[in-house]
């Protein structure tokens, strides 16, 4: 596996995590805002919001290692009329710019709330464009393993799953920071944090459920497909990469189900924040590793039509 392939893994994982994180943060802000003062909601989410920009920028930098002429990367948006890769580049750059602008306006309270909401909505839509383009890039008739509805479904599920747990981890880190630097607010934040993490734990279980339903269907589709698809299925299920599939499923299960259920349990009573924080970090790391392995399999088991 070359550095070019790793560049794509890092880019797709980081881009999906950042888009998913923005969506989850906006949903969190919306629902939390209905129950709590917006100031409290801002304290919960603003620092997490600041982290999204650097993540997508890092992903963009990683994607340059996929090119043999990275300094000409700006040309990649020229063929936006027909090329999904151009569209992916455009939406990726636009998302990075918008999410940074939104984070600055939101954390410094610049502009009206309505203006910030409009920018937030626009950024979420551009993120949607990025994930749609990213999925479409791989839906090539040349590679039957990629050319099906499974690619967008798994990309969107990964986006939401990684985004959900990344937000969980960021909120915990924010809470730990507040305990040290702003202890006056920490207690008030505890209930808000626990309520959010409870929903995050449930969402993680649900999203992994989708992945676990799609995986056997995907393997069955490949097995019933053309020879190239069958070869991909064999590489994944019984060939040299079966270890990665087993490890990916195991890590995802432990992260998104096993640890998430403990997370859920620890959100019920106050005073468990320390343990809750550790569990959230563990769940995020396990799911991240599982998704990296999933993406590794995605690239390594592709088999061309001819």
């Amino acid at each position: 596996m070359s550095i070019r392939d790793w560049a794509l893994i890092v880019f797709t994982i980081l881009a999906q995590t950042s888009v998913g994180a923005l969506w989850v943060l906006l949903v969190t802000r919306y629902f939390a805002g209905r129950k709590y003062e917006m100031e409290e909601v801002d304290r919960l989410t603003d620092r997490a919001l600041m982290a999204i920009g650097p993540v997508i920028v890092l992903g963009g930098v990683a994607s340059l290692f996929h090119l043999s002429r990275p300094f000409s990367a700006y040309l990649a948006v020229v063929n936006i009329g027909t090329s999904w890769l151009s569209r992916e580049s455009f939406f990726g750059a636009a998302f990075a710019a918008l999410v940074i602008v939104f984070a600055i306006l939101q954390t410094r309270k610049i502009g009206t709330i309505s203006l910030r909401n409009v920018i937030a909505g626009l950024t979420a839509l551009v993120g949607l464009g990025l994930i749609v383009s990213m999925s479409s890039v791989y839906m090539l008739p040349t590679y039957p393993a990629w050319d099906s509805w499974v690619t967008p479904v798994t990309f969107f599920t990964s986006t939401l799953l990684m985004g959900t747990l990344a937000v969980g981890a960021a909120l915990v880190a924010n809470y730990v920071y507040m305990q040290r630097k702003e202890p006056d607010y920490a207690d008030a934040q505890s209930m808000l944090l626990r309520g959010t993490l409870r929903r995050i734990a449930l969402a993680a279980v649900l999203l992994l459920g989708v992945e676990f339903v799609v995986l056997p269907i995907y393997l069955a589709l490949l097995a019933a497909g053309p020879r190239a698809a069958l070869l991909s299925a064999q590489l994944m299920a019984a060939g040299p990469f079966s270890w990665a599939l087993v490890l990916r499923v195991t890590l995802a299960f432990f992260g998104a189900v096993f640890v998430s259920m403990f997370m859920y349990q620890n959100t019920i009573n106050p005073g468990q924040e320390k343990m809750l924080g550790k569990l959230t970090y563990v769940a995020f790391v396990l799911v991240l590793l599982a998704e990296v392995l999933g993406r590794f399999l995605f690239y390594m088991t592709k088999h061309p039509l001819t």
Partner: protein, 191 residues
């Protein structure tokens, strides 16, 4: 618009690879890079074994996925004759065209850090000459010209055993196959 293409009569191809060598020579390529490649297919059982050879390059498709997917517009179709050309100055080396081409006709040139492919010997074509591969073919089984004229003269099809469905990109390629390579005849010849 004229659409230039190739016709290959696989019945008489002897796999001498003159076309492949002439192409490498014309394009000054190393042995590891092939813009035209002769593929080898074999099968059957005694007393009915079979073999055929297929010389393939870029098929200058009517609806080329490489052109559609190239993010920089480095790959394009020449309007007057439908040849798919590549502008190395615009190429960023993303290699998405390699993934897109169902015929595996695009190579990455490690030294130049860009992709390369058959350009139909466009310089020779513009001088009214034949592509190097066509002139080099010992058995005279490789022909080029307007694809509709080739169809009238030789017939053939872009769909034979072992090739992707021609509906994907509509290759400007006609093949007169050996009986074993005709789609749907696999059982009759014991493939």
């Amino acid at each position: 618009m004229t659409q230039l293409g190739f016709h290959i009569d696989t019945r008489y191809c002897i796999e001498c690879k003159s076309c492949q060598i002439a192409c490498n020579d014309k394009n000054n390529l190393g042995v590891e890079t092939l813009f035209r490649q002769v593929h080898y297919f074999e099968g059957g059982e005694f007393p009915n074994p079979w073999v055929w050879h297929l010389s393939m390059s870029c098929n200058h498709c009517v609806d080329p996925l490489c052109v559609k997917n190239c993010p920089t517009g480095a790959l394009y179709k020449r309007e007057k004759d439908g040849i798919v050309l590549h502008d190395p100055d615009k190429c960023i080396g993303c290699r998405y065209c390699e993934w897109s081409c169902p015929y595996g006709a695009i190579s990455f040139l490690e030294n130049e850090k860009v992709i390369g492919k058959c350009n139909f010997c466009v310089d020779l074509i513009d001088e009214g000459k034949n592509p190097a591969c066509v002139d080099a073919c010992l058995m005279r089984v490789l022909h080029f010209g307007d694809i509709e004229e080739l169809r009238k003269e030789f017939g053939g099809s872009g769909d034979i055993v072992g090739l992707p469905d021609s509906h994907i990109t509509q290759p400007s390629l006609l093949i007169t196959p050996k009986p074993e390579a005709v789609l749907g005849k696999e059982k009759e010849v014991g493939r």
